[in-house]
Amino acid sequence: MKRRTFLMGTSAAAAAAAFGMPVALAQRKPDELIWADQLPGSLDPHAVFDVPMQGYMVNIYDTLYVYQSNPPKLVPWIATGHTVSEDGLTWTFKLRDGIKFHDGSALTAEDVVWSFQRLLGIKKGAASAFLPVLDPANVTAPDKATVVFKLKHPYVPFLSATPLVAIVNRRVLEPNIKDNDWGTAWLSSNSAGSGPYVLDPATYQPVQQLDMKRFADHFMGWAHNKSPVEIVRRRNILETTTRINALIKGDIDATDSYLPTDQVERVLASKTATVSKDESMRVMVLRMNNKKAPFDNVNYRRALSHAFNYKGFISGVLKDYAVRNAGPIPANLWGAPTDLPPYEYSLDKAKELLAKAKAEGAPVEREIEIHIQQHLAQTTQAAQILQQDLRKIGVTLKIVPNLWPQLVSSTSKPETTPDMWVHWVSTYFVDPENWIGQMYDSQFHGTWKASCWYTNEKVDKLLQEARRLADQEKRKALYEEASRIVVSEAADIWIYNTIELRGLSNRVKGFSFTPIGSGADFRILSLTG
């Protein structure tokens, strides 16, 4: 090419872009989905377990059981079913035939055993759900289609935790093991699964972008979906305004599922996109450090529980896209007592209780602190609402900005745990154990979920018993009783159960929400237009 042609081309292109000629924007492909939600920090499903990982795992890997629809139902997936021994210790799972990993090799009971042993060996991610009840040696495969788990003691939530464990391909991983790391360095940016989609490791960039292609040989087949999505491009768009504009413009097909409530109307008013509103299982809690004075006084905690303007927050800030939750268990899950009245907002009652606490010797004049998660606006808003009302009853609340890693680390001891802090408890597995069990049983002290340091022997006993019993009706009664006690003792301030708000383009069909993975199950989605 001559210099002149080169220059002319360049100038023409520059002029086109700079002086407002509409630039030929790339056309969206009909079978390609762009999903703009957070990505997990690393891709090893046994090393990380959080909400973004759930959305990844459900597509790349398969599990013994899965959760589907809302409220979530536990359905056999690569297993055909299971049996439990009389004593509740031996769990036997039968596997389906003909399941293939992405490399074409067969998924057998051996792979299930190795996957559980790997999870227990790495001791991160979802391992905590199993470590107290399961030794690696007690997961065995008597034959190719049978897996047997022998638990140390009866633990009924075991079944509901099985969807946490991705079954990985041992043959792919073993050559990539370095320094006894279970292949985790390699699996952090690669995949070894059998799920409906295959990762494209070449284009993967942590936290930024991840592409996956449809796996035509997935064991469930594709008969359920006439026009499946061939390629999913996951992009993490940090800025909310940009994410929403991109959705309205048709640049992307889905946002995250926590749209700011003031943006919902804007998306709905557009001709290109809509908002899926689904009640999830994710409870917002203001934690109180029950071991620190004056929070060790029950009347002080009750006073604070009455001082939060629940309606003002839920209606004013969240535009009613949230459901008031009276206790720790999400109101839409069994075990949450339906007749339990939530704490009402009443500064008179709060004052009265504060006086009582003072009379009992609680140092109610002390300035207290609430730690918020700096990058999550709602935690600040909740803290500010509480701060205003507490000022009216003579309590000074200081708001301290903080970040998740530091907060989690501070909750290992009562002395370092903040007076109060704000977080949500999401669905890791659908069982009251995920909320009340791990939040209020004193055996979990030192973990962030139990960071209120609540101790009540009766509650401990009820929760222990509930883990042991197979009969759900009996368990339900125990959880309800435990809930009533915890709520009457105002261990924490429970605010609401989340309604997830996900922006979806009108091209997306077949979206079905489940609290686990928040509806990022691409297998059932299709695109029109």
């Binding site: 768009i237 640049d251 998740w404 530091q406 501070s410």
Partner: protein
């Protein structure tokens, strides 16, 4: 000149080491232990302790520092504690995007800012100068995220002239990786279609990022030109009958632009730090957004590496600026 450059390079080393020490102390002395978050959902204190040991967080701080400096000396910045990948490879993928955006902004700021500043000086106290003053003060004062959102709404959402976000259309192959700079690589491979995409994507972020720099370059140039115009040689040239255009754009400008050149070097640092916000708004896949994620997750190795690499680039740019400065004004090199 070689001696001058070497001297400047040597002077940069202690500054960079100071940066390393400071960043390390800030990240590791403040309560900042990612172990608990890394150990996972509901991890027991034993699990957390195991993670702490595996990452060496249980070692005394001085030892952690010595180990880290040793690694950096071998150009090994370690693995990200979150993504488990070498931070250098993650940064290498993102750095060209930030460099491209920063240089495009700098170029735009200089190419537009210097002539505007000169014109404001030549016609000082004219209506043009007053308007320029308002515009440049505005340019310095305007919040870049506000300006960015206005650009997005007007040029992308309403007029649909420019893409809203990103560096390249999703699902379209980017230019062959030669320098990593899409504008350059697409030209080198004569792919004008790719060049148009890359240019269309960079216009709004570069404009946003250049705003503050453009304003300060224009103001510095104006001051420099005004001062030079009072010099004797200008009066002599005028008396000798040189064309006014030639006097201003050749003689005056060359003698005035020194101040603006120094400003460009300093601006580079400001631009890289402002790029954090601009990259986030335009979803530009640079080191800014990477650094934000790393800070939120306490990924201290990633934060350290970003700080240090940006520090090195900043030092190099300033050395280049010094050299240019010396070429424009030979007295500078002599005085060193």
């Amino acid at each position: 000149m070689t001696r001058f450059i070497l001297r400047r390079l040597l002077l940069a080393l202690p500054a960079l080491f100071g940066l390393l020490v400071l960043t390390f102390i800030m990240l590791r002395v403040l309560p900042n232990d990612p172990s608990a978050a890394l150990a996972g959902e509901n991890a027991s204190p034993e699990q957390i302790a195991a993670v702490r040991k595996a990452y060496g967080f249980d070692e005394p701080l001085w030892k952690q520092f010595v180990i880290y400096v040793g690694q950096v000396g071998r150009a090994d910045f370690g693995n990200s504690i979150i993504s488990n990948r070498p931070v250098v490879s993650d940064i290498a993928w993102r750095m060209p995007a930030t460099i491209e955006l920063t240089f495009a902004s700098l170029l735009f700021a200089a190419v537009v800012g210097i002539p505007l500043g000169t014109m404001a000086a030549v016609w000082h106290n004219s209506p043009f100068d007053h308007v320029m003053r308002v515009v440049t003060v505005g340019g310095l004062a305007i919040a870049s995220f506000w300006f960015a959102i206005i650009l997005q709404i007007v040029f992308s959402m309403e007029l649909d002239w420019l893409p809203l976000r990103g560096r390249f259309p999703v699902g379209v192959d980017p230019p062959a990786n030669i320098t990593g700079l899409y504008l350059v690589d697409s030209l080198l491979t004569l792919r004008f279609d790719q060049f148009v995409h890359a240019l269309a994507h960079i216009v709004m972020p570069a404009l946003t990022l250049s705003l503050g720099g453009l304003a300060s370059i224009a103001r510095f140039t104006r001051a420099g030109v005004l001062e030079t115009m009072q010099k004797d040689f200008v009066h002599y040239a005028e008396a000798a009958g040189y064309a006014r255009k030639r006097i201003i754009w050749v003689y005056v400008l060359r003698n005035s632009v020194v101040a603006a050149t120094t400003q460009i070097g300093l601006l580079f640092g400001t631009l890289i730090s402002s790029a954090v916000a601009v990259e986030a708004i335009f979803d530009w896949p640079g080191v800014g957004s990477y650094a934000v994620s790393a800070i939120l997750t306490s990924d201290y190795k990633a934060v350290l590496a970003v700080t240090l690499i940006v520090g090195v680039i900043y030092a190099l740019v300033n050395i280049v600026v010094d050299v240019v400065h010396a070429l424009l004004d030979p007295r500078v090199a002599e005085s060193m």
